[in-house]
Amino acid sequence: MDLSSINPAVLIASLMVAAVPIMLAAIGELVVEKSGVLNLGVEGMMIIGAICGFITAVETGSPFLGFIGGAVGAAVLSLIFALLTQVLQANQVATGLALTLFGLGLSSLMGQGYVGIKPPATGMVPFGPLADIPVLGRVLFRHDPMVYISIGIIAAVWATLKFTRMGLIIRAVGESHDAAHALGYKVTRIRVLAILFGGAMAGLGGAYLSLIRVPQWTDGVTAGAGWIALAIVVFASWRPWRVLIGAYLFGGISVLQLNLQVANVPIPPEYLSMSPYVITIIVLVIMSSGRGRAALNAPAALGQNFHAAR
């Protein structure tokens, strides 16, 4: 066992990277759920984002276009979810599962010719001398742009939900679609747009996995990250900044367990690698057993379909 090989600064820096995919997917899902829709297809959208982003980046040579491709690909997939649940009134849980199963299959099909290829590298944001500050520079100023963009998205979602009319309308629709409809808001349209946003965010997160975090294409590259993103929304009790905390917490655990495996800690590696999932369960239990508060903050119309009867 050699714990001295673990450098705290590197650890923090890499947990920030590890957190990005789930943070993006979770903040997207947060908006979706705030509008009253439960999309369990995050895993499927993420992996479609991963492969679409990967293919786009490899074919164009541009990581930037890759991220766009990932976001678009997953958003198109989420459109199927929107069509089924919002127009055709399908059950949201079942449709979400279908999205995941289909996404896993389709991504593997699309990725046939792309196994073992290296994607074009994404550079660091040039912070110049800031990056050379000891410890702090390594932690804060030596990252790819997506690390900062993802935090920016959290801030933007927070501000939008809290301060803007659009945010108010999204929250209102998620609270009671009947009341929102009675006041003349287009419930279905608002929800479809939220679902598309959620899809695009999950796609960005997926593309980050295949382009930067891993970085290559393998079948099932998301390995449950989409599900963990769903858990983080619950952990965050639907508050944007807590998504950031949750994602960092989870990123920390997954980075730490890898480091511990490398450091030959006398715990069987299998048990270390299951730890993120076990800890997710424990966190879910803690959050939901505090009954009431977390439950009350959940959008009241979450998961219910809306059909304007008369």
Binding site: A90, L106, G224, W227, S289
Partner: protein, 360 residues
């Protein structure tokens, strides 16, 4: 444009016609997908849906159908009870794995004893393993109100790491020269799940699946518990009014589906798979979700749906060897089937009215 109009009562015709329509639409869309992959769509669809039943090798492949359908039906019937009650166990894959590990573990512990009691004990152990794994989300839900969807799913990943530990560690074949994987059950007759009629594919797991279908049918049609399950799913508050205890229902539904998934895993590992390996779990637990919906959460429907889904597996393998169709295409194809099913499902509860379009 069209508008949806809710039917006063669900249409009996469409309830049964929608799965058929969904399969047909999936064939069309799947054909398109295969065409995109540069395959002849007619050939591909025929290879998948026709050849295993009536083609050259049908005598062998029909047996394979039962082998694939058995675990799918077993798991899907269990899941359907929970789905009807609004209890979403989507971690059947994990329960399937744990059933296999428990069943195989108990059997291997008794190697090389020969007794006719070994296999029955293994069956009980397999069901227990799956049940135990499903009790985790059940207890967390009833005690702490934790979302069973996420917990049961997380436990799939945990089960997979336990599986790889089993294959490389505590269940590894001591005579396997260090290769991962347990002792093969083909060399352990007392613990083997063989074909009851040689070459038919009819092993104990398939028998269990048929029995389960009948039992579930009786439960849902005739028994008050079945009624309570349906009631809890459709109108939870009405269920409480009717005196249904939600906690008991959660424990029961998750317990049954876990035990059935565990059974399926146990029958698979001792029969068709033959040993515990790292890649033992092949996704039956997830595909069974599709089977449950395709069968309209009705046991008899699930029986048919399991056979159709088995057809896509067997036919998919054929298409993969004969036509070079990537095996991932079948997975996408199955996912597509669920989409179409959910989409056309609306026909049973809504009437579509097309608005008179103005001539342009």
């Amino acid at each position: 444009m069209f508008t949806l109009e809710k039917r006063p009562s669900p249409s009996q015709f469409w309830i049964w016609a929608t799965p058929v329509l969904a399969v047909a639409l999936t064939m069309l869309a799947g054909g398109g997908l295969f065409a995109l992959l540069g395959k002849n769509p007619v050939d591909a669809i025929r290879t998948i849906f026709w050849d295993p039943l009536f083609g050259e090798f049908a005598f062998y492949l029909r047996g394979q159908l039962l082998v694939k359908a058995g675990p799918l039906i077993l798991i899907a019937v269990g899941l359907s009870l929970g789905f009807r009650a609004g209890i979403w166990n989507i971690g059947a894959e994990g329960q399937y794995i744990m059933g296999a590990i428990f069943g195989a573990g108990v059997g291997l512990a008794m190697f090389p004893t020969e007794s006719r009691w070994i296999f029955p004990v293994m069956i009980v152990a397999g069901a227990f393993g799956g049940w135990l794994w499903a009790m985790i989300p059940a207890i967390l839900k009833t005690r702490f109100n934790t979302n069973e969807i996420l917990v049961s799913l997380m436990l799939v990943y945990v089960a997979q790491t336990i599986l790889s530990k089993a294959a490389t560690g505590f269940l590894r074949n001591p005579e396997g020269m260090g290769f991962p994987g347990s002792r093969n059950f083909s060399s352990f007759p007392a613990a083997r799940n063989t074909d009851l009629i040689a070459g038919s594919g009819m092993h104990w797991g398939v028998v269990a699946a048929f029995i389960t279908v009948i039992a579930a049918y009786v439960l849902l049609q005739r028994h008050i518990l079945g009624f309570q399950i349906k009631l809890a799913g459709q109108a939870p508050r009405a269920a409480r009014f009717a005196g249904v205890a939600p906690t008991r229902l959660v424990v029961m539904c998750l317990g049954i589906s876990g035990a059935l998934a565990g059974l399926a895993g146990m029958f698979e590992v001792t029969g068709p798979a033959g040993q515990v390996t790292i890649d033992f779990a092949s996704g039956y637990g997830f595909t069974a979700i599709i089977v449950a919906f395709l069968g309209r959460l009705n046991p008899l429907g699930i029986l048919l749906a399991g056979l159709v889904m088995a057809l896509t597996y067997v036919g998919g393998e054929m298409a993969s060897t004969n036509l070079g169709l990537p095996s991932a295409a079948i997975q996408a194809f199955q996912g597509m089937l669920l989409f179409f099913l959910l989409a056309v499902d609306l026909l049973s509860n809504y009437r579509i009215r097309f608005l008179k379009g103005r001539a342009v």
